[in-house]
């Protein structure tokens, strides 16, 4: 239990640093920004305490907001995703009975991909529409949602494959 918690804290910090110091400087054609920090929520075990999920999601978003000077935008979107995570897991991984189940691309490839696509798309949509309260342009917003989602998903799949390899020692 303690080791799991420690590992999650390390992931939490690492993803924030990766997002703010590296990924946010990558801006493909000025439209797509990879938003990888959501990987933290995607990889939390199925039966994780829901208070813990919601609070960590909120904190993650708020810290990212502080770094990017976008107060509330990431916090709101990520808290909403954290709230929707449990029902989504129940839908996509309905066959899995194992309690400590962690979504992974190797155990349930198809389900993991569908689950990630929905999580990322929802997150991106929230992000850009909340942002649009201050600035709005429908076409460019939709293009941005699409492009950023694709980029984020590529990174999630790459990262997840990489981690599995390292753990299983292949």
């Amino acid at each position: 239990m303690k080791i799991t918690l420690l590992r999650e804290i390390v992931w939490f910090v690492a993803l924030i640093l990766l997002q703010t110091l590296v990924l946010n400087r990558i801006s493909v054609f000025g439209i797509a920004i990879p938003v990888l920090y959501i990987y933290f929520l995607i990889k939390l075990p199925k039966n994780r305490n829901l208070f813990y999920v919601v609070i960590s999601g909120f904190l993650m978003g708020l810290i990212i907001d502080i770094f990017l000077n976008t107060p509330g935008i990431n916090a709101a979107a990520t808290t909403i995703i954290a709230t929707l995570r449990k029902p989504l897991i129940d839908i996509f991984f309905s066959k899995v009975e194992y309690e400590d189940f962690v979504p992974s691309i190797y155990t349930e490839t198809g389900a993991f991909l569908r689950y990630s696509v929905v999580m990322v798309l929802l997150h991106q949509t929230m992000l850009f529409f909340i942002e649009s309260f201050t600035f709005f342009n429908l076409t460019s917003t939709l293009i941005r949602i699409g492009a950023s989602s694709v980029l984020t998903l590529i990174l999630i799949v790459a990262l997840d494959s990489l981690i599995y390899r390292r753990i299983s020692g292949i």
Partner: protein, 284 residues
């Protein structure tokens, strides 16, 4: 009654995370709507100590990537200043030779420069959709306050939004919330500079009179502004712009400042800013 209380208590325990989630979401939206205005808390911006320090450290590393380009720009700037210096020197020499004419040019010793330039380094440029901000490594202790103008050697950068003791956050031209009035250098008609949220290199000069004409490459400079000195370069006209209002003309301009490789900037302190704003307030 006791049973009822227990039920309620159980309900909260079981569904409390829902309530918490709703509370946190409401709080986040509160931040979105209050913090997007000009009043911002320093703690919730990248000017706070932890994030600013982190950005400063990573900025140290990434600054090497742009060193060559920045060096070249500094050399060009240096050459330009040298030229100006030589011209002024020879002009001054002429004046000295003709001793009778120098008298009218004796400076009034009480005159001081109105604008003071505070050099600063960019520690981070954050791009998030159209919410772009720049973090600088100078703050209140060095005299940087909110509402001061920021320029690079090439042109206008933006305006200081908030400052902590050692850091400050700048809202750049390339943010839809930024507004500035500008005009063509050889004209007196002012328009406003607007960024459309697409490309970091281009913006528009809008709300110009219909009869205003441009030549490609015309310089766009600041006009009335409490923040910037007159005639500072904003960008260069590249073509006709898009406008929804047929009564006005709009030009597309290429911004003089390159926000991708921006590293060294100057914060402009207007010595008479307070005096002017107090005077203007007293009239309102």
């Amino acid at each position: 009654m006791k049973q009822c209380m227990r039920n309620l208590f159980n309900f909260i325990i079981r569904n409390g995370w829902w309530l918490l989630a709703v509370l946190l979401i409401v709080f986040s939206f509160y931040l979105v709507f209050t913090q997007n205005s000009y009043q911002r808390s320093v703690y919730l911006s990248s000017a706070n100590r932890v994030s600013a320090e982190l950005y400063r450290l990573s900025g140290k590393v990434t600054s090497y990537f742009y060193m060559r380009k920045n060096n070249e720009e500094l050399l060009t700037q240096n050459a330009k200043l040298q030229n100006e210096l030589q011209t002024l020197k020879s002009y001054l020499n002429n004046l000295v030779l003709d001793s009778i004419q120098t008298n009218p040019f004796v400076d009034d010793s009480t005159m001081t420069a109105r604008f003071r330039f505070i050099p600063a380094n960019v520690v981070n440029v954050s791009f998030f959709g159209s919410n772009n901000y720049i973090t600088l490594d100078k703050g209140l202790q060095e005299g940087v306050k909110s509402d001061m103008g920021v320029v690079s050697q090439n042109g206008i950068v933006g305006v200081v939004l908030t400052a902590s003791d050692h850091f400050s956050v700048v809202i750049p031209i390339v943010n839809p919330k930024f507004r500035l009035s500008g005009k063509l250098k050889n004209s007196d008609n002012s328009g406003s500079i607007v960024w459309d949220g697409e490309d970091l290199h281009y913006a528009q000069l809008e709300q110009l009179p219909k009869h205003e004409v441009f030549n490609k490459g015309d310089t766009v400079v600041t006009s009335f502004s409490r923040i910037f000195p007159k005639d500072m370069v904003i960008g260069f006209v590249v073509g006709q712009g898009k406008t929804n209002d047929d009564n006005f003309n709009a030009f597309k301009i290429r911004l003089a400042t390159d926000f991708h490789s921006l590293q060294h900037v100057f914060v402009i302190e207007d010595i008479y800013y307070e005096e002017e704003s107090i005077l203007e307030k007293s009239v309102e």
